[in-house]
Symmetry: C2
Subunit: 395 residues, 2 copies
């Protein structure tokens, strides 16, 4: 093994969309949340970050990250530095126990990462990004740590990233300790438990970027008079309800809890000072469409949820594909994205009883569709984004 | 005095716009609120209801109400019946004490009422309407009761009507007694205390009527998990802040409390199940414009508030007319309503630093302007809408 050996490990990591929302930090440095949250991991067939971690004593200069072909300034990113430091500390323990292992901790890291998200989808990529980064380096370092142990590290990169280290249905326990050692993610049910969950994402063209979530959540924590009830009373009850719903595969209960929690989160945003708006008239048209579809079905067959932006994520079960996604496909036929494993087979339905105004607002405001479903956690891959000589591969 | 004498009394009554919102009833029959509220009475030069109450033993048939030229079915309106019954009971006491008085209680009432509101303004007229009805009949019956005593009656017609029996700045105390005897309105400061308060109403064309407020507030009371904190903790604190602000004529404090309370109310609507939306993208553009105007001024010189609909009411002090209303006049020059005592002298300002998107949304969504200011309570008038022979006057 020469000095110029290039060590490599690659992984893909998924996006997750919360059904009980993370909003508010009790510790901004450690990314400790004011309340627990719960998400569905989405299939990497539709959305993923692909990351290669490599290191070599032949590398010059400091650690680097090439993201979508552009160099990122990770030296001044406290969050990235925290992740790298903790991963090196774990590797150091491993090396200390076995002196035959190469001293990877001393070598500069070269990280190369690509998102396969549709351009301008306005989807938060930080969760998948930090999950891929942590998972790739953990693979490179051959760390024996479990995804839950690694979630402590990913959390410090981006809160919701801790939930992207696992597949299926994932809870992030807020924890109560000051150092955050109990603020971890855990898979509460694997994909195989309830694989029929589907998600339709309506990408809404926002006129401008809203308030960034880190700043927004602190405004809410500091100023919303309603937030305390949400964090302390409402969310703990909803976490329990949601876990019951998932264990029992009770979609109506899942749907009601999902929609109520999204509304509660956006209500706290509106109650912040100055108020924060993420939902717009297109978002509200999507809510209205889901309500109409549910009313026509006579039960809850669809659930909307909105993160810190106007995009609607609509969950439904595969058996109700035509009832739910089929209506959106009819209304939004002209929009890009009805393809891939999840999209191409969605049958056309009729207008689903949607009001003319709702149809018009959706048509004019939805810029693309992403069809996906529940999926697994990060996957190791031999497709490296750094070649054997340590050069970033052109993709 | 012959049997055919037609007794008449007429009044005008104002609209009021709450700065601490009434939302939620603890008793739906008696219109008892879950929390206190506080409003500014608006000038009758801009908006008023004009009502004549008349009675005569020559009238045949039951009590009747002609509203804007159309007969109203008051026999099946429990709320109107409650008001008439209570007013007759008060008159009966008066007649019992002085047998020389005509027995007006036995005579059918003929009520004629006209709103001078701009057509399709989408402004809630029930507050001014019930205040005028109660005040006109109280005048007809020569009741010795104070406006606060009469507020008990008007409240049973329409909750917020109790605040339109007084001018200036009016608090409606929620009270705690089961029979509602302590749920009354009182003037906390007359117009003369702070006459410089102005209000600019942006009438927003709604595509359809939203959830009616009576139904909406019950949905919130029954389902919003955040509402309890609002009703029990937040509003009592804000009532105290608002009364201090008004006593001290502290506009920035008045403005901040007004905006926060409007946002809190709409947050509870969004947190209801199913969620209730009154604000739309035009409402949010108005909020954004007010925020920009305040930022440019370096202090709070304008305050938005929204009732159960998308219309924005923007309060400001006369001295800041150009800073606030002048910007809206510049942006909305093409819109009707820059006239009358309050509107015609508003000087044109520039665009006020408003974003292009905000300007565009306001221009396309505001259908008319109403310029007004704080005003006095109901005014007795000799302009009767019923002639001496008991016929409704054509207007």
């Amino acid at each position: 093994m020469s000095d110029s050996t290039v060590y490599r490990a690659s992984t893909t990591a998924p996006v997750n969309i919360a059904v009980i929302k993370y909003w508010g930090k009790r510790d901004t440095a450690l990314n400790l949340p004011t309340n627990s949250s719960l998400s569905v991991t989405l299939s990497q067939k539709s959305l993923k970050t692909h990351t290669t971690a490599s290191c070599s004593s032949s590398y010059s200069g400091p650690d680097s990250l090439l993201l979508n072909g552009e160099p990122e300034d990770i030296q001044s990113s406290k969050r990235t530095q925290a992740c790298l430091q903790l991963l090196r500390r774990f590797r150091k323990d491993v090396e200390a126990k076995d002196s035959s292992l190469p001293k990877l901790t001393d070598m500069p890291l070269k990280l190369v990462s690509i998102n396969n998200f549709p351009t301008a989808a306005g989807l938060a990529s930080s969760a998948a990004g930090f999950a891929a980064l942590v998972r790739a380096i953990a693979n490179l370092y051959e760390l024996p740590h479990s995804p839950t142990q690694l979630s402590l590290i990913a959390r410090q990169g981006s809160g919701s990233a801790c939930r992207s280290l696992m597949g299926g249905y994932v809870a992030w326990r807020a924890g109560s300790s000051k150092d955050g050692q109990d603020s971890i993610a855990e898979e509460i049910a694997p994909v195989s438990h309830w694989p029929e969950m589907r998600a339709l994402i309506l990408v809404v063209s926002a006129d401008k970027k809203g308030v960034a979530s880190t700043a927004g959540m602190q405004t809410t924590v500091e100023t919303s008079t309603l937030f305390k009830a949400r964090a302390e009373e409402i969310v703990p009850k909803r976490m329990a309800l949601m876990e019951e719903a998932i264990q029992a595969k009770d979609f109506p209960k899942f749907a009601e809890t999902t929609m109520k929690d999204s509304n509660s989160f956006h209500a706290c945003c509106l109650d912040s000072w100055p108020p924060i708006h993420y939902l717009n008239d297109v978002s509200r048209a999507a809510m209205n469409a889901v309500e109409t579809i549910n009313r026509r079905a006579g039960e809850l067959v669809a659930a909307y949820t909105f993160d810190a932006g106007p995009n609607a994520v609509i969950y439904y079960e595969e058996k109700n594909e035509k009832l739910v996604a089929g209506v959106f496909r009819y209304v939004l036929q002209a929009v890009t994205g009805w393809d891939g494993e999840y999209g191409s087979n969605i049958p056309l339905n009729d207008r689903g009883g949607l009001e003319a105004k709702t149809v018009m607002t959706l048509k004019s405001g939805v810029s693309r569709i992403i069809c996906t479903g529940v999926g697994g956690g990060p996957e190791q891959t031999d497709e490296h984004l750094v070649d054997e000589r340590g050069q970033a591969v052109k993709v």
